[in-house]
Amino acid sequence: MPSPFRAITATALIAWSILAFMRPAQADALADIKRNGVITMGVFEDFPPFSSVGTDMSLRGYDVDFANAVAKSLGVKARLVPVTGQNRIPALQSRKVDILLSVGHSAEREKVIDFTAAYAPYYIAVLGPRSLKVGGAADLAGKTVAVNRGTLEDSSLTEAAPPTTDIRRFDNYNGVISAFLAGQVQLITVGNDVGSAVLARRPALEPEQKFQLLSSPDHVALNKNEPALRQALDDIIGGLKADGTLNRLSMQWLLKPLDPKDL
């Protein structure tokens, strides 16, 4: 090969390796967070009333206020990273984020990630228009139901629904909610608070909660083998519960007082 080509090849190879920002996996997430002065948290951005955008495109909701309270207790800044149901566990595992908010507990997930104590109530419910008769999971047969893929809504619906249910899985809550509002699916499976926040906007559809699939309070999720971070987060959640902060968030965003039984 003529030498100028070799020079080009070498230059390009060096350029590529500079592009590859080498960063080894962290050893102690809590220490890193304190050292960087920032905690990176994965949140949904299409998930009212927990987190959705305002007219200035900034996130607002229960999770956002909770995230700021956690960061304040740790003495660091909060950085919110939008995630989807599909990419958030890989994002946590690949340490794109330090923790995830709004994660329901499941045995399947327990194998790959850790959970803190619960910090928010969450009921997974099936919602649909008043005119559609649905009393329980058996009535889902032959109906179209939208759900956010890879979430706990997805796994609990998949388990409960009869085989003839047409489950349509979307990448994010936007797809789920838009498909329902556009009349593309008959029912949706979301948290009941999410459902009521959304459906309040479309009273013409007369949507209502059909039945509850399960109660699955929201936890903070973190990577395995991070005992220091887990202990710190559990202490903070205990503190926010004791000093009434979580109750205040519940009143503001979920429009009802926090019932300790729900956590």
Partner: protein
Amino acid sequence: MEFTLWDILRNLLLAARWTALLSAMAFCSGGLSGLLLLALRMGGSPAVRRLATAFIEVFQGTPLLMQLFLVYFGLPLLGLDVPPWLAALLGLTLAASAYLAEIWRGCVEAVPLGQWEAAAAMGLHRFRQAQLVILPQALRIAVPPTVGFLVQLVKSTALTSIIGFDELLKTSNVINNATFAPFTVYGLVALIYFALCYPLTMASRTLERRLALATR
């Protein structure tokens, strides 16, 4: 908290900056690596040529969405921390280099073989032949299809929304979920993409016509 039409449009236009920036960056880095790929494809040893050809065929024969997924989910397995914007840029760069190398190869091959022979007869080294004789001619032919490819690239950036880069389409999804007005939101988004792409399409066509006249 209600979004007015102006709120929607304003936020979409702000997000379109990221679409434009990502397109421009991917075009530059894709162009550079495309040149390298072209050099390997045309001037390397037989094994290198085969490798470069395989690279091009793989990237032209698989969906960009899959390429983005592999970069986004694959690099962390190697211990590399890639944020969505970098994964988006890397994925688009790789794809763009494959397409541009192939477009430019066509342009180089469009230069008559006699030109290489004439340059060789002047005693020029093969690299000099390419640099002084072939490339200036190929470059003229290459401009219109390259600008045309830029249109494809701008449109491709929409897929980076799926791996979470906050460009135009991602922002429109988020706004759609706060306004529940998909007809308006996606209609506006289509118009903004059109406003970005149509001038490029026109430019490519004008350049092509001018070239056709000049070479007649």
